[in-house]
Amino acid sequence: MSESMVQVTNVTKIYERGTQQVEVLHGLTLQIPRGDFVALMGPSGSGKTTLLNLIGGLDQPTSGEVWVGGSRIDRMPSGQLAAWRARNVGFVFQFYNLIPVLTAEGNVELPLLLTKLSAAQRRKNAAVALQVVGLADRAGHKPSELSGGQEQRVAIARALVSDPQILVCDEPTGDLDRKTADDILGLLQVLNRDHGKTIVMVTHDPKAAEFARRTLHLEKGQLLEQSAA
Amino acid sequence: MLRQILAVTGINIRAIPQRWTSSLVIVIGLAGVVAVFTALLAMAGGFENTLRATGRNDAAIVMRGGSDAELNSVLDRASDDLIEQAAGIRTGTDGRPEASAEMMIIAELMRKDDARPGVSGANVTVRGVEPAGFALRPQLKIVAGRTFTPGLRELIVGSGLVRQFQGTGVGQTVRMRGTDWTIVGIFAAGDSHDSEMWTDINVARTTFNRTGSSSVLVALEGPDGLDRLKASLAGDPRLTVDVVRERDYFIGQTRQFRQNIGVLAGVVTIIMGLGAAFAALNSMYAAVAARGKEIATLRALGFGGAPVAVSVLIESLLLALIGGVLGALVAYLLFNDLTVSTMGQSFTQVVFDFKVTPQLVQRGLVIAVVIGMVGGLLPAVRAARLPVTTGLREL
């Protein structure tokens, strides 16, 4: 576990909102080893989602370096970055962000359209991923026919299906009740422990953070301390 | 109830600017339908007016039996004389029967907008007339130059032709059968004669190597003139002719065109109207969907379902009406008094103006309102039925 999965070095991120400039991250440095499960906590506006977006390759820093899984992504052109995300990162959002017109299976299969897999192989992989999250029997249902917890499981299956090295989760339980949230977090733990996925999760819920191996606290764009869970 | 409707409608209409693109779809869609409808019927109406104005009730055209149109009719010189001596014909100021043997010839002229001049032109009527021809059309006035001199190869040209065709000014020449004919004047009659060129029938006879005429136009004497004329001509075994009241002859010529344009306008308006109705439905459904929360809130506050539905309908009608007015305006600005020409019954060009009349505009607006009604009704029902609770939960 000594090998570094995520290496963020001296990263600054400035947003322009109209005429105003907002500096969200100030020279932040962070290292996450392969196989880790990190919870990012902090008050609103502390920059935790921004940091997560930088790690997931959704956004790029104003200055500083971001290395993920051995690739430097902070200056990658957008097309290349998209292809990189397809291979290396799985995303889980607070509001699941499933495509409403597709079935659970279709949603899970979606990222595989970016691969060269045959249609049969795609279906098979999607079925496996749904099995992993325990929703094989809901494959034909549309998101509107699923409960919140089930939707999030489909989203996790979608994140897993292309076998990425790292899962990036933004408040994955923010919209779920305690019981369901704990199930989802347990699932993430299994993925981390048994499938070796590195997980970075933003949450404002201390109970959720307990499922992680360690918790990082952000405040005003800077890392406060590191505490083992 | 009324106050509720007014209140809700007020809210709706104030919100239009926020979703102006979909409102614009209704307006433009109906503007298109009404503009096309009005323009087509303005064309048909213009054509009809022109021919309808041509014929008189107290004149008749005599042609060879079974000819249908002047172009096909051939009368020999003897027939001309027999016809002019028949009963029922008014006596002119010169003491002779008021009758004009006329010959119709077709010549080609180049249209002004012809992209490739000199290849082939459009057919134009050349009418050879006797002096009585002018007395029989008192509406015809020389507006430039002078009339032709009998015996000379001179032409006078209708004002409609002058607007639409090349080389038709006073002093210019038209070439027919190896000789040049000089245009010496321009006339205006306000009817289909404005699409003709006139000359002396005797010059036409010698040039075109014919002896008789195409038809004889006669003034009728008294209310029973036509019957007396018919009886007199039918009783002469030397003649096989048809007699038609002049006005009926020209109205008959509009029938086919009117039918064709009527069918075209009908088909185009129905298809385009359906398209616009679907678009209006779409826009109003979208408007209702976008206001789901707002409608639910109003319902929660105690507004009834009916005022909500009526307000949606009013909005749709209002937009449709704006579209209709816009369309009629576009049709008026682009097409009213636009001069065009097309082929008339005798295979020659008839020059006429589009006429956008208040009646046409009114019919266009009725169509707009009907389509607006269709487009608003179903969405209005949906708005009224929207369950308050789901509406409130919507984003």
Partner: protein
């Protein structure tokens, strides 16, 4: 699931809206199909004609006849292989139905129009029998004429010597076109000019048109100049043009109607562009978070643009094809209803034009929302900004 499946699934996300939009598009293309074929009827119907034939008519207009004494003069012009002539008869079938009847010299006509096929025996019979007529396949089928029948046809112009305008002819043959284009040009009747010339009261030794068959098409311009120069300043000045030009000159008589049709099409498509464009923009607006998710999953900006354009294309193609098919059916029904008189079938050309329009329209309505989707920044879109 496939990419196509995904596009189609997205298309029907709001079923009512998509169906209504599709119907609007269908209506527009139905109109497009019908009006374009009217337009085609007006303008390009002569495309099938080559330049190996010229038409010579009186310069003043074709209603003026020319003397038959011109035949040897025309035959002597270098480049002219064969000369035929044709006289308008003004035919009326039964009560009041105009039919195209031309009085011709059978042998000459046969030589000049090899495109019309009929057994040689029937051609010979046509030439031999004074009162013979032959009919095109279309018109014969329309009125149910059979070879051997004695068919009454009146003229609205020419009386016989006895003053009667009622004529009758013996149908000795039915000719057809050699290919599809020519099969559509078999709506006319031919009668024997020798008989007509002798039996009618008005004209003797004259005809409306000469048809010159050329030795080769390259000679057209020189023959036109030679012929027209030969009769210049005579009483019978001529105008000679290619068969195609000649046909177009008939179309020209309709004057400004073609222009009106173009105006309507313009109005229809302007409206349609707005309708479909608005639907696409609306659909993209609603789906911004989803599009951001696609990008998150690794779909490139170009791929997302592609999805939106593909959706616009699917919308236009589906509605457009249905509309064109409807137009074909309506055109065929109209053609049948008018007994082939109004041949409003959708030609390949109109279909091609329709397909091109579908592609252009897809781009027009898909491009703006598509570019918006392409430029979408994931972070902003996910945050609902």
């Amino acid at each position: 699931m496939t990419k196509t499946g995904f596009v189609i699934a997205n298309l029907f996300r709001k079923r009512t809206r998509t169906i209504l939009t599709l119907l609007s598009v269908t209506m527009a293309f139905l109109l497009f199909g019908l009006l374009q074929s009217v337009n085609y009827l007006f303008s390009a119907g002569a495309d099938a004609l080559g330049a190996t034939r010229l038409m010579t008519q009186a310069r003043v207009s074709f209603t003026q006849s020319l003397p038959l004494s011109m035949v040897p003069k025309l035959e002597s012009v270098p480049g002219v292989a064969r000369v035929a002539y044709s006289q308008w008869f003004g035919g009326i079938w039964q009560d009041n139905t105009p039919v195209f009847v031309f009085s011709v010299d059978p042998a000459r006509y046969h030589d000049v129009y090899p495109e019309y096929v009929m057994p040689e025996a029937q051609w010979r019979e046509f030439a031999r029998t004074r009162t013979a007529m032959v009919a095109g396949r279309q018109i014969a089928d329309k009125y149910g004429w059979k070879v051997g029948q004695h068919i009454p046809i009146s003229s609205n112009i020419y009386p016989q010597k006895n003053g009667s305008k009622a004529w009758a002819f013996d149908l000795v043959g039915i000719f057809d076109g050699k290919d599809e284009d020519w099969k559509k040009r078999t709506n006319q009747v031919l009668i024997n000019h020798d008989y007509f010339d002798e039996a009618n009261q008005f004209v003797k030794g004259r005809t409306n048109f000469y048809i010159l068959r050329l030795t080769d098409a390259d000679k057209a311009q020189s023959v036109i100049r030679t012929v027209d120069a030969m009769f210049e300043n005579s009483l019978d000045e001529t105008k000679t043009q290619t068969e195609k030009e000649f046909n177009l000159s008939f179309v020209k008589q309709l004057g400004d109607i073609g222009l009106i049709v173009r105006w309507i099409l313009f109005a229809v498509f302007f409206t349609l562009l707005l309708v479909v464009g608005n639907t696409m923009a609306q659909s993209v607006r609603e789906r911004i978070p989803e599009l951001a998710v696609l990008k998150t999953l690794g779909f490139s900006d170009g791929a997302v643009l592609g999805f939106v354009i593909a959706e616009a294309f699917a919308l236009c193609a589906l509605g457009g094809l249905v509309g064109l098919v409807l137009a074909s059916l309506a055109g065929a029904a109209l053609e049948k209803g008018t007994g082939g008189q109004f041949a409003l079938h959708l030609s390949g050309w109109v279909w091609l034009l329709g397909l091109i329009t579908i592609v252009l329209m897809s781009l027009a309505v898909g491009l703006l929302p598509g570019l918006r989707a392409q430029r979408l920044r994931i972070v902003d879109a996910l945050a609902g900004r």
